[in-house]
């Protein structure tokens, strides 16, 4: 299982590298008058898949938190831990690439009035809170319940973030996939699809590896306690 997770992660990482390479060298550029910074638009092949991967991680975070909170499932807690770490990493990727694009296109890296930018940032901050909180608080049922509650209620922001540009398009561009307003060039769509598949594999592999890692951490703590009690 662990070996499969590692292979999935490595395949996702290689696919992400290929997406970057193809996005930079092969995918067609947008029309010169379509954007203020047409070259910077190519960051979209990284930004969209990483945001997609973050959303997937937040979905798994919700599932894990719910399974722990209502059923007390150990796998639920491990899924919570692994997906909060994955959500933080991919969320930071999306925020960082968005800031780079925003600085080139809008002249500012961030817009505090844009709904999507801010709800997504709150989600990433929630993941940061969960990762840091778990590392600084002693493990126990109360601690797990508290963090699981944040994981469950934080998920409310996922659909809000998803529909934000459909209802309140302020600065962040609207959807380019699954929309009636035209579609992507097929080569662009291909690179974007490769990116989405690669990031899905990467985040899934990371979550599986993270779950195994949490299991090992708990086993180590258990053994250490047993050793200290015996001697």
């Amino acid at each position: 299982m662990q070996r499969k997770a590692e292979l999935l992660t490595m395949a996702g990482l290689i696919g992400s590298g290929a997406t970057l390479w193809l996005g930079l060298t092969w995918a067609p550029s947008v029309a010169i008058d379509a954007f203020e910074a047409p070259i910077a638009q190519k960051i979209f092949y990284w930004h969209v898949p990483s945001a997609w991967a973050a959303m997937l991680a937040f979905l798994f975070l919700f599932i894990g938190s719910t399974a722990w909170f209502f059923k007390g499932k150990d796998w639920g807690w491990r899924l919570h831990v692994a997906s909060s770490e994955a959500g933080l990493a991919t969320g930071l990727m999306a925020v960082w690439s968005g800031c780079i694009w925003g600085a080139a296109e809008w002249g500012v890296p961030w817009d505090w009035t844009d709904i999507r930018l801010n709800t997504f940032a709150i989600l990433t901050l929630l993941a940061l809170f969960l990762v840091l909180g778990r590392r600084t608080q002693p493990d126990g049922v109360e601690t797990r319940d508290t963090f699981a509650t944040f994981g469950m209620y934080g998920f409310v922001l996922v659909p809000i973030t998803y529909i934000a540009t459909r209802f309140w398009q302020i600065r962040h561009p609207g959807p380019v996939v699954a929309t009636n307003e035209g579609s992507l060039n097929s080569d662009m769509g291909l690179v974007l699809a490769l990116g989405a598949i690669s990031f899905t594999m990467l985040v899934t592999g990371h979550i599986l590896s993270g779950m195994k890692l949490t299991k090992l951490e708990l086993r180590f703590e258990e053994l250490q306690k047993e050793y200290e009690e015996r001697f």
Binding site: S16, L20, L24, A40, S209, L213, L216
Partner: protein, 62 residues
Amino acid sequence: MSGQTHLAVAYIGMIVALGIWTWTVFARGKNLEARIDSLALAMDETDKLQDELVSTSSEESE
């Protein structure tokens, strides 16, 4: 720096960051496995030593 170079630097930075994250997760797993193995081994060794001590002391008392 041209726009393309700027973008390439940003891309390389991000793929390196992803690589570091992946390596960290794998390394943490391997490190924990090694620590668990050595702790389990230490516990086994100590158990054996205790058993030997108990059997030696019971032989002496006989």
